[in-house]
C-alpha cells in the first residue's frame, strides 16, 4: 500500500522458515490430535448412550421382579382367608346401607314439613310486599306535599324580604317626617305670633272703621232727614245686568263632526295626546319612543323630543306650559323644556312601566306606575320625595286640587282610589263601579266630580262627596 510497509517477501529464507516451522507445529500440536480427540468424543458419546440404556434396562428388570412377587402372593392360601374377611365386610356395608335408607326416609319427611313452612313464609312475604307498596305510595304523596310546602315557604320568604325592604324605606321616611315636623312646628309658632300681631292691628282698624261708620251713619241720617222729599231711584240697570249674566252662563256646545286638520308624525301608534294649558301647543307620544310638539293653531310640527328607551305612555304640561313630561315603558319619566327642547329631568326609581304623571303647582310631579306605587318627585331637588304603595298597578291618575295634595288614581283591579299625598294615606277606595280595569280618571273642570273610563266600555261620572255614580256614559 505504501513504501513504508514491508512487503511479504515470498522466497526469502526466514519466510520459508516460518512457514515450515508453522507446518511442523501444526503437525505436532494439531493434526496429531484432531482425529484422536474426535475418536475420543465418539467413544465418550457411545459410552454414555450405553450407560443410559443400561440404566433403563435395570429399571425394567426391577419392575418385572415386582410383578412376579405380586403374582406369587395371589396364588397363596392367604387369599381364601382374605376372601372371608371381604365377605364379612360386605355384610357390614349392607347393614350400613339399610341404616342410611332409614335416615333418608326421615329426611324426606322433614323436607316436606320444611316445604310447607316455606309456602307459609311466601304468603307472609307477599302480604308484606303489598303493605310496602301502599306505604311507598303514601310516602310519595307526603313527599310531594312536603315539596309544595317548601316551595310555599320559599315564596313566603321572598314576600317577607320585600316587606322588610319596604319597612326599611318607611322607617327612613319616618325619620325625615319627624325632621320636617319639627320645622313646621317652628313655622307655626312664628305664624301664630304674626297672627296675634295682625289680629291686634285688625282690631285697631276695625275700631277705627266703626268710628268712621258711626260718623257716616250720623251724616246719612242727617241727609235723609234733609232730603225726605226727593224721588226714588229706577231699578232698570240692575235688571239688564241680570239678563246679561244669564246669557253668558248658557254657552253653546256641539259635537265635532269634520276633521279640520290631519297631521302624520309618528312612525308607530300614538299612545297619548295633550293640549298645553295656554292652548298654544299640542303634544303627542307614541310607540316610536318620541314626543312631538305641534303648534296648536297651525298644526305645524315644532320639535321632536327623543330620549325614552321604550314607548311613551302619557304626556303632561305644567301649568305655565314651560315644561312637558313624557312617561315611558322604560320605567322612567322625562321632562323637557318646551322652548329649548332640551331634556331637563329624568325621573328614575319606578321598577315598572310608568303609565301616568302630572305636574302640581307646588313644583312637584306625581307619577303612577305598574310597579304598584305612586311616587311624588320634588323637581327642585330632582329626586323621589314620597312613595305610596297602592296594592295595584296604577293606570292613570289626576290631581283633585292644584298643588296635588289630593289625587285620584285608576287601577288595574277595577277600583278608583283617592289619596292624600302628604300623609300618604288612602282617603277612599271606590269599588264596584266598573267591571273592567280603570284606564283613565279626570277631574271635572267645575264640579267636584271625576270622570272615569274603563275596559268595561263605560265612562262614569262620580261624585266626590258621596262617592256615588252620578252618570254613566256607555
Amino acid at each position: 500500500m505504501t513504501s513504508f510497509v514491508v512487503q511479504p517477501p515470498p522466497g526469502t529464507a526466514w519466510h520459508e522458515l516460518i512457514l515450515s516451522r508453522l507446518a511442523e507445529r501444526d503437525a505436532r500440536e494439531k493434526d496429531a490430535f484432531t482425529e484422536l480427540f474426535a475418536a475420543h468424543a465418539e467413544a465418550r458419546h457411545l459410552a454414555s448412550t450405553l450407560e443410559s440404556e443400561l440404566s433403563s434396562l435395570k429399571g425394567e428388570h426391577a419392575q418385572a421382579l415386582k410383578v412376579a412377587a405380586l403374582a406369587k402372593e395371589f396364588g397363596s392360601p392367604d387369599s381364601a382367608r382374605r376372601f372371608a374377611e371381604l365377605e364379612e365386610q360386605v355384610h357390614k356395608l349392607k347393614d350400613e346401607r339399610s341404616e342410611l335408607y332409614k335416615t333418608q326416609g326421615q329426611n324426606a319427611q322433614k323436607l316436606l314439613e320444611l316445604m310447607e313452612a316455606v309456602q307459609k313464609a311466601d304468603g307472609t312475604v307477599a302480604t308484606l310486599q303489598d303493605e310496602n307498596q301502599t306505604l311507598t305510595a303514601k310516602l310519595k304523596t307526603v313527599s310531594i306535599g312536603l315539596r309544595d310546602a317548601q316551595e310555599l315557604i320559599r315564596e313566603k320568604d321572598h314576600v317577607i324580604q320585600i316587606l322588610r325592604d319596604e319597612l326599611a324605606t318607611h322607617q327612613l321616611e319616618l325619620v325625615q317626617r319627624e325632621e320636617q315636623l319639627t320645622e313646621r312646628e317652628k313655622k307655626v309658632k312664628t305664624l301664630q305670633e304674626e297672627n296675634t300681631s295682625l289680629v291686634d292691628r285688625w282690631i285697631l282698624l276695625k275700631q277705627e272703621q266703626a268710628a268712621r261708620m258711626n260718623e257716616a251713619n250720623e251724616y246719612v241720617e242727617f241727609a235723609l232727614k234733609s232730603k225726605a222729599t226727593s224721588p226714588p231711584l229706577s231699578r232698570q240697570h240692575s235688571l239688564t245686568e241680570k239678563i246679561y249674566d244669564a246669557g253668558m252662563a248658557v254657552s253653546p256646545s256641539f259635537l265635532p263632526q269634520v276633521a279640520t286638520k290631519k297631521m302624520s308624525a309618528h312612525d308607530a301608534e300614538i299612545n297619548c295626546i295633550q293640549l298645553s294649558p295656554d292652548g298654544n301647543l299640542l303634544a303627542t307620544g307614541g310607540n316610536d319612543k318620541r314626543v312631538i310638539l305641534y303648534d296648536a293653531y297651525t298644526g305645524g310640527m315644532k320639535s321632536t323630543l327623543s330620549g325614552p328607551l321604550q314607548s311613551v305612555m302619557s304626556i303632561a304640561f305644567n301649568s305655565a306650559s314651560e315644561l312637558v313630561m313624557g312617561t315611558s315603558n322604560d320605567n322612567s319619566a322625562k321632562i323637557w323644556n318646551v322652548s329649548t327642547g332640551r331634556l331637563k329631568h329624568t325621573l328614575t326609581g319606578h321598577i315598572g312601566k310608568v303609565f301616568a304623571a302630572k305636574f302640581t303647582d307646588a313644583g312637584r310631579v306625581v307619577s303612577g306606575s305598574h310597579d304598584r306605587t305612586i311616587k311624588v318627585w320634588d323637581l327642585n331637588k330632582g329626586f323621589c320625595a314620597d312613595t305610596i304603595f297602592t296594592l295595584s298597578s296604577c293606570n292613570d291618575l289626576c290631581l283633585l286640587n292644584g298643588d296635588g295634595t289630593i289625587i285620584a288614581s285608576g287601577h288595574l283591579d277595577n277600583n278608583v282610589r283617592i289619596w292624600d299625598t302628604r300623609s300618604k294615606q288612602l282617603i277612599k277606595e271606590i269599588s264596584g263601579i266598573h267591571h273592567g280595569q280603570i284606564t283613565g280618571v279626570t277631574m271635572h273642570p267645575t264640579q267636584n266630580a271625576i270622570l272615569t273610563t274603563s275596559r268595561d266600555n263605560t265612562l262614569k261620572l262620580i261624585d266626590l262627596h258621596s262617592y256615588q255614580t252620578i252618570k254613566t256614559y256607555s
Binding site: V6, P9, W14, L22, K30
Partner: protein, 300 residues
C-alpha cells in the same frame, strides 16, 4: 490487504492446541461429582481463542458426565496448570507457549494437561469479573488491548474509535466464531498507516520467572533508516540472552546460518521458534495475535 502475508496469517489463524482438561479432586468432592477421576475432557482449542470462551462447554461436559452439582455462573470457572492459575485474559496460544517455556513447571508432553476449578476463585491472583458477564468482560479486555496497540503504533486510538459500531462488534465476534475473512476485513483497517512507519511496535516479551517486559520499541533505526530486526530488539532488551550480531545486518538470508551458530535463548512465537532476522515491522503486521500485539515468550 496487499501487505498481509495470507499463507502465514491463515496458518497462524488455524493453529490449535490440544488440551486435556480434568476436574480438580477437591472441587469434585465438594460438588458431589462421581467418577471424576475417570473423566478428562479432550479439546482442540484455537491458539487465538480465550479460556472463558470454552468455560461453558467444559462445564456442560462435567455436569453431564460426572453429575457435577454446579449451578453458578461461568464467571466462577477458572483453570490452572501445575498449581499456577492461568490468566483468562491471555490468548490460549500464549498461555501454552509460556507453560512450555517454563522449565520449572514443565507441562510435559502434549496434550497440554490443565485442571479446571469451579470453586474458590483465586481473586488474589486472577482478575475477578462480575457474574453473568464473563463474555462481555473478555471482550472488553480484548478491545482495550487493541486500543493499546493502536496507540503504540500511531500515537492515538483514532483508528479503533473510528471503526463503526458494527465493525467493532465484528472484530470480536469473528474471533468467537473463528471467521478469518471477517476478522481481517476489520483488522486490515487498523494496520494501514499513512506514509509513515509505525512509531512503536506493540510487543510484549515474557520470560518465565520474570515480570512481563513491554517497552516502546521503534520500528526503524532512525540513523540508517533500516527496519529493526527481532534480533536487534531482543539484544537491546535482554542483552544477557541475545547477542547483538554486529554483522547481523549483512543480509537477511544469513540469519538462518547465524541462528545455528548462536547460543542464544529461543524466542517462541505461536509455538514456533521465531527467526531472529525477521524485520520487526513485518512480524508485527503478519504475526501479531488478534489483539495486535506480538507476544513473544523467551525459552532460556
Amino acid at each position: 490487504m496487499q501487505h498481509i502475508d495470507s499463507p502465514v496469517a491463515q496458518k497462524l489463524w488455524d493453529g490449535q492446541v490440544p488440551l486435556r482438561i480434568s476436574l480438580h479432586p477437591q472441587d469434585a468432592s465438594a460438588l458431589n461429582a462421581s467418577n471424576y477421576s475417570c473423566f478428562s475432557q479432550y479439546l482442540s482449542v484455537h491458539r487465538f481463542s480465550y479460556l472463558p470462551l470454552i468455560a461453558s462447554e467444559v462445564r456442560r461436559f462435567f455436569v453431564e458426565n460426572t453429575n457435577l452439582g454446579f449451578s453458578g455462573s461461568d464467571a466462577e470457572v477458572w483453570f490452572e496448570c501445575q498449581g499456577i492459575p492461568l490468566k483468562w485474559h491471555y490468548p490460549v496460544g500464549l498461555l501454552c507457549d509460556y507453560q512450555m517455556a517454563d522449565i520449572d513447571h514443565s507441562a510435559g508432553p502434549l496434550p497440554w494437561h490443565i485442571t479446571v476449578h469451579f470453586l474458590n476463585f483465586p481473586a488474589d491472583k486472577l482478575i475477578r469479573v462480575s457474574p453473568d458477564s464473563s463474555i462481555p468482560s473478555i471482550r472488553d479486555a480484548f478491545m482495550s488491548m487493541v486500543k493499546e496497540a493502536d496507540f503504540m503504533r500511531h500515537g492515538t486510538i483514532k483508528k479503533v474509535m473510528g471503526l463503526s459500531k458494527q465493525d467493532q462488534t465484528q472484530l470480536w465476534d469473528s474471533l468467537v466464531s473463528h471467521s478469518f475473512e471477517e476478522f481481517w476485513h476489520v483488522n486490515s483497517q487498523l494496520l494501514v498507516s499513512e506514509n509513515t512507519w509505525p512509531r512503536y511496535v506493540p510487543l510484549r516479551i515474557y520470560v518465565p520467572g520474570l515480570p512481563v517486559i513491554q517497552e516502546p520499541i521503534p520500528s526503524i533505526d532512525e540513523e540508517t533508516d533500516q527496519p529493526y530486526t527481532l534480533r536487534h530488539v531482543l539484544a537491546s532488551v535482554l542483552p544477557q540472552y541475545f547477542k547483538p550480531r554486529a554483522d547481523g545486518d549483512a543480509s537477511r538470508r544469513g540469519s538462518v546460518d547465524s541462528m545455528k551458530r548462536a547460543p542464544d535463548a529461543v524466542a517462541l512465537l505461536h509455538g514456533i521458534e521465531a527467526p531472529l532476522g525477521v524485520p520487526l515491522v513485518w512480524l508485527s503486521q503478519n504475526c501479531s495475535y488478534p489483539d495486535n500485539f506480538l507476544h513473544i515468550v523467551i525459552r532460556i
